[in-house]
């Protein structure tokens, strides 16, 4: 029997339309809009100014705190301006806008596609390279990776888990990356293992990607200590805590980080970025993005420079269909709807998903029928209906006592609710309010 996590979970229609589309390098945009806040934590502070000439790979904004990351130019050209641009949520966020001229790379970046198998690195060097390269978690959470690699004192890492689950329907970016850059990704995994000082590594992949599992199983024969673990298809297996439970059968206690049970989880995209940063000296300036949807004429996977406008990618995948009702950045379960299409691709964009009008709108909200389906599917063992009610009544103490902060916002409760209640909307509100209460209490 295949491994999986125990509590809850759902199985939405997979719709992996672009699974067989090879990764295509997207055209370099005419202007690149690079946001300063592409990661969790403090936005980076710009070190270029208007009129400066930049090359591909040059640092244009520096990490400005403990939880922060460097940002590199993904194109070469002139800095047109540093200005506030309306982002996906409609608010203004500072961005560096670069007018592209040619494609001139920094000399120290090795652009050859030969696989560099040299594993003779020191842990501190790798962590430093990861930090310099501005690598953040590419699964979507965009947490700066170098922090995850520095194990806090008193804790020991035992095993590195690589997340190749890609449990979100529609998305195939990680799947294609594992197939096409498998060996590089495995070397990246090995580098991460050296950085953490662990001897065991496991790559969790859901069973709906048999080609990727087979391909990687062939490759890991040459690399000691790495195992490919096929997993049963179940959403949200790509959640950090769910993956740990599924692969090594350990439960991360409430309110703690995975390192508590000796595990560190990184995405396959991150492992590939680490390979490029350490072996090729190439900072994080491009990523794989899936552009898909039932109405898209040509669902594709693109290797995209950070800062490319979303519209350009939609054009490259066959243009915006007439009946598009909603464009989502990310997957259908956890992705966020874009309020305008001019927003650029950032480090955290794993996909651009187009929904038809009839797929896009929510159904009428009906009263709760007490079926407790949301409780059954919650992978964190919470009671979503209760959290929603308590949040609605602003009973913040009860919301906190019912562990709202444990919610991973996977959306399984809302997906399964037969009364179409906006459970996650309320839980998110509860999480942010309770989070503020907890923070003010600590001060």
């Amino acid at each position: 029997m295949l491994k999986t996590f125990k509590k809850g979970g759902v199985h939405p229609a997979e719709n992996k339309l672009s699974a067989n589309a090879p990764i295509v390098t997207a055209e370099i945009p005419k202007t690149a809009t690079i946001p300063l806040g592409q990661h969790i934590g403090a936005p980076a502070s710009p070190i270029v100014k208007k009129g400066d000439q930049v090359k591909v790979g040059q640092v244009i904004a520096q990490s400005s705190g403990f939880v922060s990351a460097n940002i590199h130019s993904s194109v070469s050209g002139t800095v047109a301006k540093i200005d506030d641009i309306i982002d996906a949520t409609g608010f203004k966020k500072p961005c560096i806008i670069i007018t592209v001229e040619g494609d001139e790379w920094l000399e120290e970046i090795n652009r050859s596609s030969d696989i560099d198998k040299n594993l003779n690195h020191k842990s501190a060097d790798i962590i430093n390279k990861v930090k310099e390269a501005g690598i953040v978690g590419l699964g979507g959470a965009t947490f700066p990776s170098h922090i995850k690699l520095s194990v806090p004192p008193g804790k020991t890492a035992e095993v590195l888990l690589i997340n190749g689950v890609e449990c979100e329907p529609y998305l195939t970016a990680d799947h294609r990356l594992m197939l096409e850059k498998g060996e590089e990704m495995i070397i990246g995994t090995k580098l991460l293992m050296i950085a953490l000082g662990v001897s065991k590594g496991a790559i969790g992949i859901e069973n709906n990607k048999p080609d990727a599992i087979k391909h990687l199983q062939e490759i890991v024969k040459n690399y000691e200590g790495i195992e490919v673990v096929p997993l049963k298809v179940k959403y949200p297996q790509g959640g950090e805590k769910q993956l740990i439970k599924a692969v090594i059968n350990r439960e991360v206690p409430s309110g703690t980080l995975p390192i508590e049970v000796g595990a560190v989880v990184h995405n396959v995209g991150t492992a590939f970025a680490v390979y490029e940063a350490v072996q090729k000296n190439k900072p994080l300036l491009e990523r794989v993005v899936t552009v898909t949807g039932k109405s898209v004429s040509n669902p594709s996977n693109f290797m995209v420079r950070i800062g490319t406008p979303t519209t350009q990618l939609i054009e490259a995948a066959g243009g915006l269909p007439q009946d598009t009702g909603k464009v989502v950045s990310g997957g259908p379960m956890m992705g966020k709807a874009l309020s305008n299409l001019g927003v650029p691709i950032t480090k955290g964009s794993s996909g651009v998903l187009l929904f038809k009008k009839d797929e896009a709108s929510r159904r009428l909200i009906q009263p709760c029928i007490r079926c407790a389906k949301c409780v059954t599917v919650c992978p964190m063992g919470l009671e979503p209906y209760l959290l929603m009610n308590q949040t609605e009544m602003q009973n913040w103490e009860e919301v906190e006592n019912n562990r709202t902060m444990d919610c991973i916002e996977c959306g399984s409760c809302m997906y399964t609710c037969p009364a179409d209640r906006p459970l996650l909307d309320y839980i998110r509100l509860g999480k942010s309010t309770v989070g503020n209460i907890i923070r003010s209490r600590k001060q």
């Binding site: 309306i86 949520t89 309020s339 305008n340 709108s361 906006p422 909307d425 998110r428 509100l429």
Partner: protein, 294 residues
């Protein structure tokens, strides 16, 4: 008569007397001495328990008033000014009557003035929409129109205007408890002085964008042009973050700024209609009609 009945009566009476004696001593031991003035002050408060004073209910406020050395900073917005003076008299303090206040909605982004640029499909409450994104119009500061403020109002002093999609405050009912101010995630509602004869002038906009984007998002947005600042004879208007703000303590209700504002972002309430403006509009209409004839 059975002896059982007599035994029952005697034993129960004995139990009762013993319990009464114990209870008497317990009551003596745990007696709470409460200032009788707390009850007296509570009587004088409206009993709405709205929390507008910042204390948990009227009893809590009465308790705080009695314990306070100086009650000049305490105010029950619901009672009229005289009530606070009376309470101060009971407690032996001096008090000046605070100016009555009223809630004011500082957004005029009606469906016509502020076009929607996307469709919001989530739960219909302002707090959730605010947590998700900037809203379904081009203005990221304005009213969402789901009525969190109306839900928060315990005095039935607000309603949502279905035509404009904006909340409306009923002057007679609003007691300035501040519940709507707290409920609004966009900080649109402000408590302002009620003003002489209920006359008020305020900037009905909270958009901090620069002029161009603000005007593009909403036709009645404050564009921070500063014309009102120049025209104000009392230095009551300041501009911060491209947004004008009228200090109601300095404003003398001369209405010069209302005329001057190029986007009609400054509103006047409860003033009698003024003649020159009416003539002006007529003149404009005449001009237009002559143009049409040409």
């Amino acid at each position: 008569m059975s002896i059982t009945i007599i035994y029952t009566i005697i034993s129960l009476s004995a139990l009762g007397v013993t319990a009464a004696i114990i209870l008497y001593f317990v009551a003596q031991k745990f007696k709470v001495v409460e200032d009788p003035r707390i009850d007296q002050v509570e009587e004088m408060l409206p009993g709405a328990n709205c929390g507008g004073c910042g204390f948990p209910g009227c009893r809590g406020f009465a308790d705080a008033l009695v314990k306070a050395d100086d009650i000049s900073n305490y105010n029950c917005p619901v009672s009229d000014a005289q009530a606070m003076v009376d309470i101060a008299g009971v407690l032996g303090h001096e008090a000046t009557a605070a100016d009555p206040k009223i809630a004011v909605v500082r957004c005029n982004g009606t469906c016509d003035n502020r076009k929607s640029v996307n469709n919001y499909d989530g739960a219909k409450t302002c707090s959730i929409e605010a947590a998700l994104y900037a809203g379904d119009t081009g203005c990221s500061f304005g009213c969402f129109g789901h009525g969190d403020c109306v839900d928060a109002c315990t005095f039935d002093a607000m309603y949502m205007d279905s035509k404009t999609g904006l909340p409306v405050i009923i002057d007679d009912k609003c007691v300035a408890c501040g519940a709507c101010v707290k409920a609004c995630p966009k900080n649109i509602i402000e408590l302002r002085n009620k003003g002489k004869k209920d006359r008020r002038i305020f900037v009905s906009c909270v958009n901090e964008d620069k002029g161009g984007p603000a005007k593009k998002a909403c036709s009645v947005a404050c564009i921070g042009c500063g014309k009102c600042v120049k025209v104000c004879p009392f230095d009551a208007i300041t501009i911060e973050n491209n947004l004008a703000y009228i200090d109601y303590n300095k404003c003398k209700l001369c209405r010069k700024c209302v005329v001057e504002c190029p986007t009609n972002a400054i509103h006047e309430l409860n003033f009698p209609p003024r003649k020159p403006v009416a003539e002006k509009t007529e003149a404009v209409i005449k001009e237009n009609s002559t143009e049409n004839k040409d």
